[in-house]
């Protein structure tokens, strides 16, 4: 291996690692706020990628009907759960969020999709179509569970992942799709040729991380989300509705997932069930980072990305084995260091 191959592998790993970092961040966030391990995180990636790929070729993505269906289900589910309490303003807000919002997005897509409105509009549209699915799913699947145990929530999350994979096949079909890159620019830096898409990925990832940091550190809503994660009862006592915090956390996870999908679909062919393996790498990073630390998760995700690119160079048949095996020594080390009385509920 010479220096240029080494650098290319590092670059590849960092670009992939950036995506895993985003996914790891949203997994940590969702777990901290809701105690749900979002197994279905990868589905949002696949849906985001496939939706953008359809839009980029001037097709109307099937995802809009999935969005409408989930909105409808969330509307009905919410109405049933809160039939005794929801009235007036709350009912109106619920209807706006679960019915009017998807209707508006569907209408915008039907108008804009055939006209090839340009990359920026298509990216925004793809993200807008997929993002609300996540809070709808929270409303349908997790909110009724209230204060269920982590295990019950995990089983539900696995079921949700399987259901979404099936729905993905229905709405996107079995073929894989790929989209053209955001730009064909290529930056030469010494022996490195950095494609424009890599710059886009790194730039947007960094911007999103800074945005998340500002949201959690500077805004009261962001602090309320952190507070819910730190002390759920305390959060309820200051008047933060924890269900709303869950909806918000899922919304962020859906947004991050969808954006990640849009970013990678120009690099790799995305299939309806391809999100799981990508999400699993984010999960590996989140676990290595301790499932509680945001910087830890980001660092671990970059390591996972680099480990993946090097193992695919040396032993490509084993690259998945190598990446996922990395979790074992980390878990061993953590359990030896912390003993077995770790922060279990």
């Amino acid at each position: 291996m010479d220096l240029s191959i080494f650098l290319i592998l590092v670059q590849d790993g960092v670009v992939n690692g950036a995506i895993y970092a985003l996914l790891a961040l949203s997994l940590v966030l969702v777990f901290a706020v809701t105690r749900v391990i979002l197994v279905a995180q990868g589905e949002f990636v696949a849906f985001g990628g496939l939706t953008y790929a359809a839009l980029a070729t001037g097709q109307t993505p099937g995802a809009i009907w999935l969005l409408g269906g989930l909105g409808l289900a969330a509307f009905a589910g919410g109405l049933w759960q809160e039939r005794r309490r929801m009235r007036g303003g709350a009912l109106l807000r619920h209807a706006l969020f679960t019915l009017a919002l998807p209707a508006a997005i569907i209408a915008a897509t039907l108008v804009l999709a055939p006209r090839r409105a340009g990359i920026v509009v298509e990216v925004l549209l793809a993200v807008a179509i997929v993002t609300p699915m996540a809070p709808y799913l929270y409303r349908i699947a997790f909110q009724p569970l209230g204060n269920a145990s982590v295990l019950t929530l995990l089983i539900t999350a696995v079921a949700l992942h399987l259901a979404l994979t099936g729905l993905g096949l229905v709405f996107f079909g079995p073929e894989g799709f790929r989209a053209p890159p955001f730009s064909d620019a290529m930056i030469l830096a010494g022996p490195l040729m950095i494609p424009g898409q890599a710059i886009w990925i790194l730039g947007l990832t960094l911007a999103l991380m800074l945005g998340l940091y500002a949201f959690f550190e500077k805004t009261l809503t962001g602090k309320a989300l952190r507070a819910t994660a730190v002390n759920r009862l305390g959060a309820r006592l200051v008047g933060i509705p924890t269900a709303q915090a869950g909806v918000l956390a899922f919304g962020l996870a859906g947004f991050i997932g969808a954006l990640s999908g849009v970013l990678i679909v120009p690099l790799t062919t995305v299939y309806y069930d391809g999100g799981f393996m990508i999400g699993l790498r984010g999960f590996t990073a989140a676990i290595i980072g301790g499932l509680g630390s945001y910087p830890g998760a980001v660092l671990a995700a970059l390591l996972v990305g680099v480990a993946e690119s090097f193992s695919s160079f040396w032993a490509s048949a084993f690259k998945e084995v190598i990446v996922f095996t990395a979790i074992i020594p980390v878990l061993l080390w953590r359990s030896l260091r912390h003993g077995n009385g770790e922060d279990e509920e």
Partner: protein, 242 residues
């Protein structure tokens, strides 16, 4: 009309009743205390009033029955609870804890929040000194101040305090009770639960005695403080405990 009116309240843990047939009321601006031995159901009572525990019977706040409304809706209505375990946001700064207490008014803008914050810092100057510190690093007395400050940020009309003096040094307990007396002047009604019956009866207008889940005695504080049963059961004990 009373601010809080509880009729025939009952809470059970898995079929075993913790409190039964409890009726009590708190008038606006009044300080009411509930005293009683450990395990009498005092904390259960406050948790039921706040909506943390499901209860039967009726709880009316400001004339409206609360029904099955959620904790956050009760905060919106003007109720605040400082729980026995304080439930602070340990890994967040003192000031962030206080700001989150203002969550109920989050639409009112920055100036309103800063004004509320300044009031709390006036009441608890110590919190201002510690504003940048994580809540988890505070001493027991400071934690109680922060928990009370956070609850007061929501400008409640009814403040419920669960054992505010528990585990605190006598000097700090005195400060806390001074603060409770000072709060009376702001017009907030206080429902105070205490094992320190002597101090509680001194600051309260009215008192209830809760024993094994039922109200066994009620009356204005001065009368109860002179009642021989109370003197023997609670005040004597308080004296020997220091």
């Amino acid at each position: 009309m009373s601010l809080l009116e509880i009729t025939d309240l009952a809470v059970a843990y898995g079929g075993i009743p913790a409190i039964e047939g409890v009726s009590l009321s708190v008038a606006a601006g009044q300080i009411v205390t509930v005293i009683g031995p450990n395990g009498a159901g005092k904390s259960t009572l406050l948790n039921a009033i706040m909506g943390i525990l499901p209860a039967s019977g009726t709880i009316a706040f400001d004339g409206a029955a609360l029904g099955t409304s959620d904790v956050s809706e009760r905060v919106q209505a003007g109720m605040s609870l400082v729980p026995e375990k304080r439930e602070l946001f340990a890994s967040m700064s003192v000031e962030d804890n206080l700001r989150l207490g203002f969550y109920r008014f989050r639409g009112q803008g920055r100036a309103a929040m800063e004004a509320a914050l300044a009031e709390i810092y006036d009441l608890f100057p110590r919190l201002k000194e510690r504003r940048a510190q994580d809540a988890g690093t505070l001493s027991g007395g400071e934690r109680q101040m922060l928990a009370m400050g956070r609850a007061l940020m929501a400008k409640p009309r009814l403040l419920m305090l669960d054992e505010p003096s528990l585990g605190l040094a006598p000097r700090i307990v005195r400060d806390i009770f001074h603060t409770i007396t000072a709060l009376r002047r702001t017009g907030v009604a206080i429902l105070l639960i205490e094992q320190n019956a002597r101090a509680a009866l001194q600051v309260a207008d009215h008192a209830f005695v809760l024993e094994t889940g039922r109200v066994t005695l009620t009356g204005d504080s001065a009368t109860l403080a002179a009642d021989p049963r109370i003197v023997e059961m609670y005040l004597g004990q308080a004296r020997s405990a220091g």
